[in-house]
Symmetry: C2
Subunit: 356 residues, 2 copies
């Protein structure tokens, strides 16, 4: 009989990065009713940001060593990018911390070895926020549907691009104007190339392929068609067929031929479908299982508050059982990624047709 | 550093009940590629069923003592009903087994004390299959959205009733004919009173209220309006307003006044809405969070194969970490359940209107 090891003190959290996501996490962690204690914030601009956003009992630093040597139980990585985030996540696990990250690029590239390191350390690495914002798709695929054999995933995974495309659809504006509008609303970064071009969705799709199919997928090899050339005229062409255009990420895996078909592209979707009705910075996914059929999930895919929900849920899961063993997935590279003759289908895939 | 305690042998599973759900679980657990080992099946008709469905290496019994004294790691309860299921779940936990159940009545009534017993025993009690079939709503609310403050839940939770209502909608047939059709397709029990009357959905809603709001709700006190009097004429009346009729379960909790408003009733829903488009034995839910807004989830809500997906996912979660501590929720009875002046709204709640 084991007693609850957390009754004695609150779970201590250190935060790396005080941007849109990091500051939203900090606000939640320092609210009155939280069962967690934010102890440290690391940010390059710690000195100035500390003055603008003082939190009682929180120390600020710009040195990762201060975090690694601290008594934090959980390190939240919200700096983004590959370098130095990958090293810092690894160092935090080595230092005995559990890690929660929103970093799709790091998880897509180094998720498996980092999860193996976490398991060896008896610590946890959680990344619900890396895919789908507040939409709990990592748990849905990795745990909820672990009892099924998933055969296909179709999803809107980039909230920025979806906000841009649905804005063009609604107003007939130019892509540039829609991007500026998304930036003004806080849905788009200063540089939206990774969103529109598909790099962001490819990284997220690679993570889902690991969870759903057990495959180690190089995101940069997933065929992608950019949305950067989409214009109001494309929507006007789609409308008479009751269709609209969305950036869709698709993956299906044929276990007999060991063939993965995966792509990210703007495709025609039925306006009345789940994807056609997904507007603004929302995400949506349809997961097809051999036994359960289609399972759908949708919700806020971007924004600091939504991403903070996923991060705080991960902290709560770690705090519930700091001694939990989460074994690393055994990923295989023994498969064929179909890269030539890939057909970007309309959705639902009634007719084969390249949208643009 | 802890090593994986499961590399040495497969997780051993004993199954209580060999009906629709139990037999689907048994087929999955005895498939070639399963990481689990089905060791025992308990069924009242063990002698006959064993002849009809022989599984290599599985022993059959009609005595619960055989299960309690076995070396099974996990007991799957798929007999349904309150008695003897409640006692058997309790006895299995006392005997040191983890338990997976699809039993909404037991979890709605005795979930909190059984979870507390499981935590004291250092074992797990999981019940994803008790609500929503293959739709992973228990994880979505209990874990994925644990980082949010949930304010409302609207859901289709009874697949049988949804199959009946959407059949009347599609064909204009009588309710009796739709019930017989659902029975013929395996979506309805011989007695559909608990489905149409709302008892099944009330039990599931009580479970979701515990997960989302931390409230101990007596399901039998949740106001309910039966669907047993719905006829094709009701759908004909709704159609000119682009509406249809669904059995909806609703709960919202006002944390300032400690007031829970909850009900199960047939209500008008927009035909184009998530709920209006949910047909057949599907389930669907919209969860409204203070920080993430609306999160939606939908999927197969009934049927042996879909329910088995949820059960096997729970077994997998237990097998991943047999030593995990899942603390019991701290539920409060310090709230007011609004029972008079409850208004059954249309959905979306644009206008107050009782559907039938």
């Amino acid at each position: 009989v084991r007693s609850d090891p957390f009754s004695s003190r609150r779970c201590r959290v250190a935060l790396l990065g005080f941007g849109t996501v990091g500051s939203a996490v900090a606000r939640r962690l320092t609210a009155a009713d939280t069962p967690f204690q934010l102890t440290q914030i690391l940010d390059r601009g710690a000195a100035q940001k500390q003055r603008a956003a003082p939190f009682a009992g929180v120390s600020w630093t710009s040195q990762i060593e201060d975090i690694l040597l601290s008594d934090a139980d959980v390190v939240v990585e919200a700096i983004g990018g590959i370098d130095p985030a990958t090293d810092w996540i690894r160092s935090a696990l080595v230092a005995g911390k559990s890690v929660v990250t929103a970093n799709k690029q790091v998880i897509a590239r180094q998720g498996a070895p980092l999860l193996a390191l976490a398991a060896r350390q008896g610590r946890q690495l959680r990344f619900e926020a890396a895919v789908g914002g507040a939409m709990p798709i990592v748990r849905a695929i990795g745990e909820g549907l672990a009892g099924d054999r998933i055969v296909a995933i179709d999803a809107i995974l980039n909230g920025t691009t979806n906000a841009v495309l649905s804005q063009i659809e609604a107003t007939g504006c130019s892509l540039d104007a829609a991007v500026r509008s998304a930036q003004a609303r806080g849905y788009a970064e200063a540089d939206s190339a990774a969103d529109l071009g598909g790099d962001d969705a490819r990284a997220k799709l690679a993570i889902l392929c690991a969870l759903a199919f057990g495959l180690r997928v190089d995101a940069s090899r997933i065929p992608a068609v950019s949305c950067a050339a989409i214009a109001a005229a494309d929507f006007a062409r789609a409308r008479p067929r009751d269709a609209t255009i969305r950036q869709l990420a698709h993956a299906d895996y044929d276990r007999r031929s060991l063939t993965l078909t995966a792509w990210v592209a703007p495709v025609d979707v039925s306006a009345a479908s789940l994807f056609g009705r997904t507007v603004g910075p929302q995400n949506a996914a349809l997961i097809t299982g051999e036994y359960s059929g289609e399972i759908g999930i949708f919700g806020a895919g971007a924004g600091g508050a939504a991403t903070a929900v996923a991060i705080i849920g991960d902290i709560a899961a770690i705090a519930r059982d700091r001694a939990a063993i989460v074994p690393a997935p055994a990923l295989t590279s023994n498969f064929i990624l179909k890269t030539s003759d890939v057909v970007f289908q309309t959705w639902p895939p009634v007719a084969v047709e390249v949208a643009c």
